[in-house]
């Protein structure tokens, strides 16, 4: 079984540019989460999809961030325009909705560096 796949593994862009991160969850996992870890700080929740619907986007920092999950399969997270403080590692995780056993599987992360 393939795990959660994220692309790119590392992206270096200049302030003001646009970057799109992609996450392919484990097949059959309805739940998809985006998290971000800024250097030295905690892993912060960004948003949660259930299939193609945004269940919770309370962690999205501002309207420069746009997440989509068309068709309920893979998801993209676009940052436009990128700012210096957006640098960090963006993690995606997926899970099945099984009561009492909803365990998240994480991807390797996409490291974003904004110069």
């Amino acid at each position: 079984e393939a795990g959660v796949t994220q692309f790119p593994s590392h992206s270096v862009i200049e302030k003001g540019q646009t970057v799109t991160l992609r996450c392919d969850p484990i097949s059959g996992h309805d739940n998809l989460y985006w998290y971000r870890r800024v250097m030295g700080k905690e892993i912060k929740f960004l948003l949660h999809f259930v299939k193609e619907s945004k269940q919770d986007e309370s962690g999205m920092p501002n309207n420069r961030f746009l997440a989509e999950r068309t068709g309920g399969t893979y998801s993209t997270l676009k940052v436009q325009p990128a700012e210096l403080e957006d640098s960090g590692v963006y993690f995606c995780a997926s899970s099945q909705e099984i009561p009492g056993a909803n365990v998240l599987t994480f991807g390797a992360g996409s490291r974003l560096t904004v110069l």
Binding site: Y33, E42, I43, H48, D56, F91, V103, L104, F106, G109
Partner: protein, 110 residues
């Protein structure tokens, strides 16, 4: 608001010494508590969860509701335990996403 606090950024011990990674939480209600681990060049992965009440790789963690703590313990540390450890919390209702602490780096020296 829910919050997870890991007071130590770095914990360094010698091989064979006991380890305790501290985790305190704030949550109005009964939460699910987890420990996740990230070994060098590997993905973040689940180590254990409080409802399982099991020992994984020699690690255990007990949920203490009175002290709102979920400390991770191992009686004898091994070099391969060196990693970044994150405590995380999730409510049984409402938001289903995990809330993470800032992590503790465990270094086990030979």
């Amino acid at each position: 608001a829910q919050r997870v606090t890991q007071p130590e950024k770095l914990l360094s011990v010698f091989k064979g010494a006991p380890v305790e990674l501290k985790c305190n939480y704030s949550y109005s209600g009964s939460p699910e508590l987890f420990w996740y681990v990230q070994y060098s060049r590997q993905r973040l992965q689940l180590l254990l969860r409080h409802i399982s009440r099991e020992s994984i790789k020699g690690f255990t963690a007990d949920l203490n509701k009175g002290e709102t703590s979920f400390h991770l313990k191992k009686p004898f540390a091994q070099e391969e335990d060196s990693a970044m450890y994150y405590c995380a919390l999730r409510g049984y209702t409402g938001r289903r996403a995990l809330t993470f602490g800032s992590g503790t780096r465990l270094q086990v020296q030979p």
